[in-house]
């Protein structure tokens, strides 16, 4: 299928006007003192690339503020990317955000005409379509009332009806399906199905992962303005759920540490600590001594953790744990004092842990590793969910078995 929409390394930076409107005084002081322009800015999107083929239903998921709406606006041609390119084949139309697109003081009918003309329709075409749009939106009784008197559901019905009436090549719907009553939702979904079979392409965002999974052929996962993955809905949705979980745990971990640790100097994403000791390298070897992140379930692994001491530290504690993707601790090694176990520590070194065959079910695990002072008052450096370990295995071997540990029970029945 031909590609109807593609983004190539699209980045978007927003200058921060909204938080604090710049006044002329700022600019004047800046100019008069020859200071460089500080321009506080936020990157809403980083190097986002993807392609959408004609006739697909393409979903975009991500938490609040991941950049979904920014991306959709750029796809529609509202604003330009700071860098990168967006290519469109044919007309893209969309229902972008609540409150955008319609003027609240004007009536539904007046707004419909504006919407039609702004989407490139001729006046007479708009007149022809008007009736069927209003009928689809089921708003005959209020169409000559100002939009401000509409409920959210009525507003969205009108917006959706107007967007699909334009018969766009690509239809963009931002969180639209999450609102409106069930009956209208079903009507929308039917229409989406019809559009899809007539060769239109749809781009949908939703907080409702189930809906995304049910509707989409392909899903893009966004996190902090970056593409985490693009793939089939099932994988993407579980990836999204993992991200959501990690975010809430990082938050609670940060909050907990902040209370206990006064010297927390950095906490970027999944790394926490005060950095007197830093983890400089982390490698997993399989039972053939090859570097890898993927090993067969039931085989042995060896982990090497290199560290470097940046500030005088006489002794330290060390932990290395294997955690399931649902954060269950499968096993954790703790060395309470490396001095007692290995003697005097030098500025750099590597701790090597050889594990026997891992009796864990196939799946994704994480190796969490950390260095601490011996009184455990804080973390020097803790890597949380930074090192995945994928265990592969023949699912037939473990048919009907769920959980973490491989126990190989032999089941029989006596009668």
């Amino acid at each position: 299928m031909p590609i109807v929409l593609s983004a190539q390394k699209v980045s978007k930076r927003f200058l921060r006007y909204r938080n604090r409107t710049t006044t002329m005084r700022d600019t004047l002081t800046r100019v008069l003192t020859f200071r460089a322009n500080p321009q506080p800015s936020t990157w809403a999107l980083h190097d986002v690339s993807f392609t959408v083929e004609q006739g697909r239903v393409f979903g975009i998921i991500g938490h609040n503020g991941a950049g979904k709406s920014t991306l959709l606006r750029l796809l529609c041609g509202v604003g330009r990317p700071t860098s990168g390119r967006i290519m469109r084949e044919g007309r893209v139309s969309g229902v972008l955000e609540l409150g955008g697109g319609f003027n609240l003081e004007l009536t539904g009918r007046q707004n419909l005409v504006t919407a039609g003309l702004l989407s490139g329709m001729r006046q007479e075409v708009v007149r022809d379509q008007e009736k069927s749009i209003i009928a689809f939106a089921e708003l005959e009784h209020v169409i000559d009332q100002p939009i401000r008197t509409y409920s959210t559901g009525m507003y969205l019905r009108l917006a959706f009806a107007a967007a699909i009436a334009l018969d766009p090549a690509v239809l963009v719907l931002d969180e639209v399906l999450a609102v409106g009553d069930e009956r209208f939702q079903r009507k929308c979904l039917d229409r989406i199905g019809a559009l899809k079979s007539s060769g239109s392409t749809l781009i949908i965002t939703s907080h409702n992962a189930d809906q995304i999974q049910a509707l989409c052929d392909e899903v893009l996962v966004l996190e902090e303005g970056r593409v985490v993955m693009q793939g089939d809905p099932q994988t993407a949705v579980s990836c999204y759920h993992d991200l959501m979980r990690q975010r809430s745990e990082v938050r609670s971990a940060k909050v907990g540490k902040d209370e206990a640790v006064t010297r927390l100097t950095f906490s970027q994403g999944k790394r926490l600590g005060t950095e007197e000791v830093q983890i400089t390298n982390f490698v997993v070897y399989d039972n053939h001594g090859r570097r890898t992140e993927t090993v067969a379930s039931g085989t042995a692994i060896t982990v090497e953790v290199s560290f470097s001491i940046t500030e005088p530290v006489k002794d330290m504690a060390f932990t290395l744990g294997i955690f399931s993707d649902t954060h269950a601790k499968c096993s954790e090694v703790t060395i309470a004092s490396t001095h007692d176990l290995f003697g005097q520590i030098s500025d750099t070194g590597t701790i090597r842990c050889e594990f026997g065959p891992l009796p864990l079910l196939p799946g994704t695990y994480f190796l969490n590793v950390g260095f601490y002072p011996t009184d455990w008052s804080r973390a020097f450096d803790y890597h949380w969910q930074m090192h995945p370990l994928h265990l592969t295995g023949d699912s037939a071997d473990n048919r009907g078995v769920t959980g973490i540990v491989v126990l190989n029970p032999r089941c029989s029945m006596k009668t």
Binding site: L15, G77, G100, F102, N103, N111, S119, G120, Q123
Partner: protein, 251 residues
């Protein structure tokens, strides 16, 4: 092309709908401001401090109409983008069109006042020279170019510096006195340059020449005013083009 015209015409109608929706007098309100200004100026400068100017009501009204076009356009342009947020949410909507529409809407209000002006002229037994009336479109064009250029500048700048709308209001109220709206410019004044470089001053004097005296305007001054207006327009257009995408982000 004709689609752009349809769109522009629709947006002008929309502008009127937004202005007068729900009011009893509707569009007649647009005449309320110039007529009340006329009455107060005539009272002050005929009764309180009498000015020796012939046909004073007519004299003032010829200036008030174009001045109001100019000044209401510019005051409205400061928040034109903010109040048209809904339009800026459409793909590839040319935001400059909002300013053009703003200029045209206010020009239509000006044209709406013209019949009253002509009626006043006829009641004073003044004849209107139809030949000279041919110059009127040229004056409209110059003023439209100037107003749109300044409008683009003010609207764009006000997105980034909210001081601009305040400055605009102050400058407009000062400029009202520095433009010969209610007084006659002395023939040889040491400050003549001040009025020659102000395009609005030249344009207003030209309206008077054409509509009241039935003579051609001072072509040299008018050419200068046209050039100034064009330069301002090109500058405003350039600034707006440059920051258009930031405007859309900031709205």
């Amino acid at each position: 092309m004709s689609h752009t015209l349809e769109l522009t015409w629709h947006l002008i109608k929309r502008d009127f709908q937004l202005r007068y929706a729900g009011s009893t007098l509707g569009i007649l309100w647009s005449l309320a401001a110039p007529i009340s200004q006329l009455l107060i100026l005539v009272f002050v400068f005929r009764r309180v401090i009498p000015l020796e100017i012939e046909h004073y009501p007519l004299f003032v009204f010829t200036a008030i109409l174009p001045w109001n076009w100019f000044s209401s356009s510019l005051s409205a342009s400061a928040f034109a983008f903010v109040s048209s947020r809904d339009l800026l949410r459409y793909p590839n909507f040319p935001s400059g069109l909002i300013i053009v529409v703003n200029t045209i809407t206010n020009m239509l209000i000006f044209l709406l006042g013209l019949p009253i002006l002509l009626g006043m002229a006829l009641s004073q037994q003044l004849s209107i020279s139809w030949l000279v009336m041919g110059i009127l479109p040229l004056l409209l064009l110059i003023q439209a170019v100037l107003t749109t250029g300044l409008g683009l500048l003010i609207a764009t700048a006000n997105i980034f510096y909210r001081d601009v709308s305040q400055i605009t209001h102050i400058v407009l109220s000062l400029l009202f006195f520095l433009t010969p709206v209610f007084y006659q410019l002395p023939v040889d004044s040491a400050y003549r340059v001040l009025f020659e470089i102000n395009p609005m001053s030249v344009v207003i004097q030209s309206y008077r020449k054409v509509l009241l005296d039935g003579t051609a305007p001072d072509w040299l001054s008018l050419a200068l005013a046209f050039t100034t207006s064009l330069v301002i327009f090109l500058f405003g257009y350039w600034i707006h083009q440059r920051y258009e995408s930031d405007v859309i982000d900031a709205i």
